[in-house]
Symmetry: C2
Subunit: 214 residues, 2 copies
């Protein structure tokens, strides 16, 4: 099961950062075509050099055959394995406000092999309501829930002040991955947890900077 | 008015990418304190070296005084100017689905000096409804609206297939900045437009990769 583990260790972080994008393009290609694609075609589509594509994809074995290109289905499936799509990761959302609701209703998880299992909130008016087929649970029950259900990922869409305490509680309950929308950084005391930040505010600021410096 | 223009040209993209984060920390600091902060204190807070902070902030004039640290209010205000917070940028949201609604109800814009002016949608059932104090307008009227109101930024929360055509229409209507949530790249024919992508799906995949390679 874990034969990709060692392979993936060897991949540089620059390549890793490009993997989700390759996977995204291959997912789109797979809708129309189960055939092959050359690095030149992929290059044109993705606006990167064919040489970079060949180098990147060589990092995990080189699926291309000189002159024949890549088998789309095979490459998509191998990238999926490297990205953990087949691992059956489970997730909960902590924070069932507007953003948490929107994320729970999206197809973000299912498209990437992640199963959303529960939504939690701190607001008594929200706890017990139905969102996207889930009954919103009390965040105070999240530790037990995550421990019992061996949850892998917590999506953090809580108010800023609640984010770090809840994340640390969940890390102690065995949650290893945190997808953080709070637009603030925090530290997890448990050293083996992984935090992925989405800084929407910083992204808007970068856009404004680029507009301002035109 | 434009005295920061030339200065900002000299700032490397690595520094630019760190600017929104400095601005965020300074905004938080400003809530409690109008005094000074040393690069060492800021370093501890932001988990970067004091030397990097001094180098970064020196790029736009060096507000620190040896031994006295930085004047929080002055630095915050200068960073804000560089980031265009005082430019009074205006924005519209194209796509009033769950994500567009959530963004329209957030304080993302107001906190960064951007004024949200209108919401557009393609769905006749949504057009005419009230969201966050706005009456949702028909996306077919967006070109005229953006031209007449000199809109700077369009937030793209449309279905994938609609994103590129609408963005290109709006670019022709003078919109210069695109904040793209469609999780796909597109090209703007007008060469001077700026696109800032938020790839939520890619972010989740990176988290899964990191969990998978643990």
């Amino acid at each position: 099961m874990d034969h990709n583990h060692d392979k993936s260790k060897l991949i540089s972080s620059a390549v890793v950062n490009r993997l989700p994008r390759y996977y995204r393009y291959l997912t789109d290609l797979l809708k129309d075509d189960n055939g092959r694609i050359s690095s030149r075609e992929l290059s044109k589509m993705m606006n990167v050099t064919a040489s970079q594509i060949r180098q990147d994809l060589n990092c995990f074995g080189g699926f291309g055959q000189q002159g024949y290109g890549y088998n789309i289905k095979q490459l998509h499936s191998e990238l999926g394995r490297i990205l953990g799509v087949d691992r059956g990761f489970t997730a909960v959302i902590a924070g069932a406000g507007n953003l948490g609701k929107t994320i729970s209703k999206s197809n973000l998880f299912i498209k990437r092999g992640v199963t959303l299992k529960a939504l939690f909130d701190i607001n008594p008016d929200v706890i017990g309501t139905q969102i996207a087929g889930f009954t919103v649970l009390d965040v105070r029950d999240a530790v037990n829930y995550c421990r019992e259900n061996k949850i892998d990922i917590a999506v953090l869409t809580l108010p800023k002040d609640e984010t770090a305490p809840v994340a640390n509680m969940l890390a102690e309950a065995g949650v290893k991955g945190f997808w953080n929308f709070s637009n603030m950084e925090f530290r997890i005391e448990m050293s083996d947890a992984v935090v992925q930040n989405i800084h929407m505010g910083d992204s808007l600021m970068t856009l404004c900077y680029n507009l301002n410096s035109k």
